[in-house]
Subunit: 327 residues, 2 copies
Amino acid sequence: MSAAQPKARGGIDLGGTKIQTAIVDPGGKVLGQARRPTPTEGNPPDVAEAMVQALREAADDAGVETADLQGVGVGSPGDADGKTGVVSGARNLPDWAGSFPLGETLSKALGTEVRIGNDVQVAVEGEYRLGAGRPFDSLLGVWWGTGVGGGIVLDGKPWLGRGAAGEIGHVVVKRGGAKCPCGRKGCMEAYAGRAAMEAEARRQHEEGAKTDLFKLMRKHERTRLTSGIWERALDHGDHMATKLVERAIEALGTGIASAVNLLDPEAVILGGGLGDRLGERYRDALSEEMGKHLFVDDRPPALLGSELNDLGGALGASLLFAPQSRS
Amino acid sequence: MSAAQPKARGGIDLGGTKIQTAIVDPGGKVLGQARRPTPTEGNPPDVAEAMVQALREAADDAGVETADLQGVGVGSPGDADGKTGVVSGARNLPDWAGSFPLGETLSKALGTEVRIGNDVQVAVEGEYRLGAGRPFDSLLGVWWGTGVGGGIVLDGKPWLGRGAAGEIGHVVVKRGGAKCPCGRKGCMEAYAGRAAMEAEARRQHEEGAKTDLFKLMRKHERTRLTSGIWERALDHGDHMATKLVERAIEALGTGIASAVNLLDPEAVILGGGLGDRLGERYRDALSEEMGKHLFVDDRPPALLGSELNDLGGALGASLLFAPQSRS
């Protein structure tokens, strides 16, 4: 018997608005990719079907059959059980409050093994092995978007705890503070999550405060204050947008500093929709806010933006089938 | 050549008020121990000399020569550099704001190798391997005393970060909140550290608020509000003491929940002077405060008191010379 040839692997990033797929060779090179909108109606099988089609498109792009892949990794929102492949409570996907056997469903359709991971954790793992985290052995990833997710790599390995580690968005920054979308009070996400920021902007706007945020939203035919809308409002010097982003930065700095005091990692990587858009612009402000709370303040961790951007989630997911070392 | 016999090892817990030493056989059994007061005057060499005498006493008690020990581990306050054996900024010890080569000094006097670790980290490691942490692979130790220290064990190994991990006392619980002895604002220790609690009690008392705390302190010939004084005041139903301890428990619950959201460990172990005295009494209250902020609230980590008590620091320190597995 001859040794098996190393095979290409697939990755799927399942987001609330888009499904991004990639086919990667054993050395980490991208051979093909595709993107589709995430279904906003229907149910989990419909979402799975869209994922299958998007992955097949990427495989066509790469010139491989999905059944010939070593496997396909998925970065999923909600509660993704890596052992069973079941995803539960993915509330930003249609009719997905309950549980659905995503891994099994995809595996049958694609004819190859499928592994499911947490979306933020696999994106952070991608940055660790292929992106901004390459120079470091330990890092904290902070994914600043609709919510604030996190991922931890310690001593070269993802730290998952009992499956739910990395919830930096729910590190408390102000006991008794603002209500968080999670229902608790004072979480970092209550100030810094895009959903919480939009709710606060609406509240202030309804009370008569001026802002162009919602005008920009309608002009660009959005129904939500996307990261792009926030960026445009900042570019226009919009007062409310500026104040709310500064408030978010304060919360991020406080919560990240708390996490650094606890973990003392070599680097912090800021990603996610808002992180990618605003990270560079607010880098110094964020460093300053962190500095106010760092217990060892003479050697802060490196503070970096993500490097893999849109493809990061799919690349990170594909690593669920790569040996535990950097490519 | 025959294989060397496994040798006994020594441990020294260097505290602000006492030096506790122990001699332990390779299986973890205590063969001898001794305790001396920590010098309150003089300089680092005087403290080192008292440590040498205390370790020699324990060796006499065990019937061994210090030079025959496999080595001696030390749990030290301040900034303890495990690589060089230098201890810096141990401000609760006489004239020790600077750096002193404690490891080298002890090693010369005792005729055996000496390793230095952080006092709280070695105590937590002791609980992990010999005490309350034995059933678990990951845990967070919270040492509630004059300050609030912490230690982390992940996947069976201490997590030290870049040398300063575990500072749970400086996880922020209230942005813009109370001034902490560390100079920053809103840290858990600003509400829960015994030093901060005493400062707040004095402030309220000077402003006319009633309390028996200081009366009890004088009656028991103390110059500080020790853990025992706080306990007695609670036993007497002292209103201010009760309120300040409840405030500390709120801060502890908030900060520990933040750490659990980030690390998702199997267990939290509460130790330290106040932890040992009050942990059991406030166990339910602490669970309740944590529960308010746990992101995954249906399976909180086990919440346990330390088991090794007074000897824990010395036993944990001796493990600096034991293989990285449970005895």
